[in-house]
Amino acid sequence: MSNFRIAGKGRVNRSRQLRFSFDGVDYTGYEGDTLASALLANGVHLVGRSFKYHRPRGILTAGSEEPNALVGSNRGNGRFEPNTRATVLEVFEGLKTESQNRWPSLTRDIGAVNDALYMLFSAGFYYKTFMWPKSFWDKVYEPVIRNAAGLGKAPTAPDPDSYASRFAHCDVLVVGGGAAGLAAALEAGRSGASVILCDEQSEIGGSLLAEPTAEINGQLAWDWLEDTNAALAAMPNVTVLPRTTAIGYYHQNFVGLCQRLTDHLRIVPDGAPRERMWKVRAKQVVLAQGAIEKPLVFAGNDRPGVMLAGAARTYLNRYGVKVGNWVVAVTSHDSAWHAAFDLAKAGVEVAAIVDVRGTVPTQLVAAADALRIRTLIGWTVTGTKGRLRVSSVRVNPVGPGGKVGGAETIACDTLLMSGGWTPSIHLFSHTQGSLTWNEDGQMFLPGRGKEECRLAGAGKGRFGLKAAFEDGAAAGSAAAADAGFAAQPAAYHVEGELSFTGVTGHELPTDRDPGHAKAFVDFQNDVMAKDIRLAVREGFKSIEHIKRYTTNGMATDQGKLSNINGLAVASDALKRPIPAVGLTTFRPPYTPTSFGTFAGYNKGALFEVTRKTPIDGWAEENGAVYEPVSLWRRAWYFPQVGEDMHAAVARECKAVRTSVGMFDASTLGKIEIVGPDAAEFMNRMYTNAWTKLAPGRCRYGLLLGEDGFIRDDGVIGRLAQDRFHVTTTTGGAARVLGMMEDYLQTEWPDLKVWLTSTTEQWSVIALQGPNARKLIEPFVEGIDLSEGAFPHMAVATGKICGVPTRLFRVSFTGELGFEINVPARYGRAVWEKLFEAGQRFGITPYGTETMHVLRAEKGYIIVGQDTDGTLTPDDAGLSWAVGKTKPDFVGKRSLSRPDMLAANRKQLVGLLTSDPKTVLEEGAQIVLDPNQPVPMDMVGHVTSSYWSAELGRSIAFAVIQGGRSLQGKTVHVPMPDKVHSATITGMVFVDPENTRLSA
């Protein structure tokens, strides 16, 4: 295997050799290598197949803008990531990588037939090719064609890694650790401001890492870099974050940074997070993100071996890797000349430098002559050859008037190209800062900003090291000053500066039919110049539309390379200047970012808060099956050995109806309302009348929105003249308290009353069933439990099992019942004590499903299940709970709006299926005539439906138009298997006389 590593060049650690594999072949690299540099060092250029045409593709860049070299990377133990850019993936010992979008192999890929079928896949192919015949959608287009196009495969195993997040506040955030960013961080750091400097690469330094011979203030670049890094590390007010990409810039200088912590490590410590999302709030931001080199647009510019000149120079100077043995450079900019010179000096045969400009700086030509490099000034490139690697380039002179002369072919294994540089203004664009077109530099530059933000260096078009340093220093000290710290920017002296002139490329002239040229603009999405011209011919004028029609710039690289070239091609086709064509919007994230980083700690058990009651542990130990109710997990039912849910619920229901059951009701929302105006406040909030409710008594309370619709309900006990214990639904607790606070603070601030959430102060044990009183009597102190002294809907304070209790005599089952509130820490102990004592009654713990069945048998509704935000009290059959003589309460006025009084409103009713064994599906639609044509006239739907063991048949609630007047009528429920019929009834199925409540 050939070795392209050059002795004495680069910064990789030659003492640390690393083994890795690509497509099953083992290679070696060094610490400090990226996968791209290590593959190039082994002579590997072919790394992937393109998105649509499956064209062989190589490594185009040396940075995060890479569109071609996407690989699958495997870090073991299920840690597989598709679409990793080889140019940012750091090599570590044992790294396994593979190419993507090819079958059966990278060199012999069947899908490459797409390349010959270009006409099927031209601009807008989704809208055209796949339209007809319709039957082809299912059979051909989706399974075959879509499968053939694409990137890597998503991993199938759950992500085993953990992720972190961190908030940070600083005076100055500097994005980018190149010359400008370092100078900015130094100034801000010296001023005493708190500074965060982040850079996406593994090493801080940016382009300085590829400039070993430049001299800065008398020091070689790498020596200066080492000293500078040491100086920054010594400042306690400066945090330097390598491997950290600023992915998004949001309001008020809030910037998201993705820090990669462990991907580059061979051995990841247990529990170490893979990545961390920094959420930085900076007083001032300096964006020093540098510039991205532009490809040239010519036929065959996408073959493996064709790469950006600056990238080749980086591979040589930073990694000590020559990208080929016979190199040709084609350029419209000085920078490719310097790349060619460096390669030639490293012993690489540079066959020619082709410059499309008519004139180039004379010192470049002289330097080329000295290195015996042939120069073709005013020439163009019109094609390349080579199946899996470029083997030759076709060049032509361009005469006066742009006439392209006869072709010459030059053999090469690598073709460098440079179309100039585009300032990286992505993050600035996130802030909705305006951009202005710079005609001289043929580039967009930052205009008016909307945040406390500065740009510096090449990122705002100040090219060259000295310009970058001085611009960075100026930005850093100005940012520090605006954050309140004095700073005086230092001057910089730079030797060995490169010349940096050029013109911006439009598509290169050719002697062939440009309509057949495979001249790529967007390498990742396989968009060619002719696609953009086609879009223009088909009538698209806005760049936003052209982008979407051709998909130019819509790949995962967000058009870092393609946007500006696409714009130039569109501008030529539209015969309008570039600024008149416009620019598409960059959006976060700057580079692809893993979902895990966004999730942070919120995965697995911490995905969401799981609230558990104090009794939850007992339920878990006793085999409860859980269901989520808002953020809570609640015991759903308690199956015994061999029982399914149906059997368990039937057993639990029977126990409550015949003896006693116990239920953990701790999740009920609880609000303590205290103050001399408490009753007045209750009168205004709830529909019911509260003034006459005596202390020690409870009442069912109904809460409406101002629109008159039911919002919540619950039993409310009056503990004292000035103190109410309000309960709410489990899911409504926070909402109800918020609504009450709103009225109290903003409508009735004069009322002397305060609200406190006590949901979690109390554990609540519901004991329900004919033996409930017998069970608790021996444990209760200070409360007379007799029917006369403590009837249904009474409340009292006392002690149970020796701990304080608020004891409610209430029932959501229709049986004699108590709800025992005890301070939360005693909940489980009291529960266990009562469970033990209840054994002689066959006490049975029951879950939410049984609670639902029992309440439905009694016709009690559940707000949020039987109501949906469109039901009035009357719709729900709760008119009795509305205090009609009260002058006002929240929602009262709405109840007399014309629509609320309409005759045909949906009303809540009972339903009994004709076949008693049929349990209807909740949510099923109801029709009056099952034989009407589709679409049928749906008059309502089923809201609750259960098997009632007590009745030996199913029961249901439904909302039906005018339902209460249709009692006894038959309705129909069409379902996929058959149409069920049911009779409309009242809602109380068990003990309509309420005799059991007072048993």
């Binding site: 949001y250 309001h251 008020q252 809030f254 959420k279 709030r281 909307k450 000053a481 605006d482 954050a483 309140g484 710290f485 004095a486 101002e706 629109d707 918020g738 606070e741 709103d742 009225y743 603070q745 903003t746 409508e747 601030p749 002058p887 006002d888 009262k892 006025r893 709405s894 709006r897 014309p898």
Partner: protein, 114 residues
């Protein structure tokens, strides 16, 4: 994430501590039964929904718990000022003054540390 100044805590706090609560200065009528159906409809549902300056309510839900009012631009998302619930709708002059005061305070920080 926005920073919002709570007029009760007299501090800028992160947006996650706050909840939005709709348009401000829509008082519940003292006697709803005296309103016509149309008037009541307007109170319930009709909002200005402006492009630009908006008077709106926020609550420092996970902070001091208070509802308060704010002047915010719905295009730029920028807050001009916040003020306590019950305070009258600020005039153009007051809003301009509050906006420039924010700018001034930033400048004065710069001067304070030469």
């Amino acid at each position: 994430m926005l920073l919002i100044r709570c007029p009760y805590c007299e501090a800028e706090r992160p947006e996650v501590e706050f909840t939005y609560a709709g348009e401000a200065h829509i008082a519940r009528p003292a006697d709803p039964s005296a309103l016509s159906d149309d008037e009541w409809r307007d109170f319930l549902f009709i909002r200005t929904n402006p492009r630009g300056r908006h008077f709106e309510r926020w609550r420092h839900m996970h902070g001091c718990g208070r509802f308060f009012n704010a002047v915010r631009d719905t295009v730029t998302d920028k807050f001009s000022m916040t003020y306590k619930a019950g305070a009258p709708r600020p005039s153009d002059e007051e809003i301009a003054l509050a906006s420039s005061a924010t700018a001034d305070s930033a400048a004065s920080v710069k001067d304070a540390r030469p």
